[in-house]
């Protein structure tokens, strides 16, 4: 269920169809929205601009959710990084991880495996993780 710790919104019904629902049926669909909390992220203008122009926002939210699951004690921050040589740009999620080095490395591997399973290949180098261990 960890991956489902996000909100379920109302279904995608055209507004003109709402009147056709029995009230009980529609109330139940609305209740689904309340079953899971909404993931809320505050991003800098630079990160928001980078992600919206490249259609990465949803992938970034998914990645941040995975980071919190893999590094439960951390408060991830996000920045845009630009390679001065190649002018390549990407998003880096920074975390400060606590625990044994081997545990942190395992957590990073789990995170990367899950992220690569979800992200399209073309976007996989656009979201990266950097961590410090304390």
């Amino acid at each position: 269920m960890a991956e489902d710790q996000q909100a379920l919104s109302a279904p995608l019904f055209p507004i003109t169809q709402l009147a056709y629902f029995a009230p009980r049926e529609f109330d139940q669909m609305a209740l689904a929205q309340e079953e899971l909390p909404v993931q809320s992220e505050t991003l800098s203008s630079a990160v928001e601009r980078f992600c919206t122009t490249r259609r990465l926002l949803s992938w970034l939210l998914i990645a941040l959710q995975m980071v919190r699951e893999s590094f439960p004690q951390s408060s991830p921050t996000v920045r845009v990084v630009k390679d001065p040589d190649s002018e390549d740009e990407w998003i880096t999620i920074d975390v400060v991880a606590t625990g044994e080095v081997s545990q942190v490395i395992d957590a990073e591997r789990r995170f990367m495996r899950r992220l690569l399973e979800r992200l399209p290949e073309s976007e996989s180098d656009k979201i990266r993780l950097a961590y410090d261990i304390i």
Binding site: P11, F13, F21, A22, S45, T52, L57, S58, L61
Partner: protein, 87 residues
Amino acid sequence: MPERKDTIMLFGNPTEVSEVPIAHSEERANEYELEDGSVIRFRAVATAVLRIDNQFDGEGNPLYLVKNGQVVTVVKAPDHLRKKKAP
């Protein structure tokens, strides 16, 4: 990407769904000017769309649920609300 089958809990009951990949998205922002002088931008972002298997609305359309997150960006904030820089 292929659809992915999953089971989620809805109303306390396990419910079979298919996660449908998003082929194209337009994520527009809402912008709000606050009384404290700040301007914030808000976006609702779908992170997954689930079609509930074998469930239909009154017109026979499939039922969809959207997993989503929200993104808030501070576009502008007055100086007195910003974190003070160390001297």
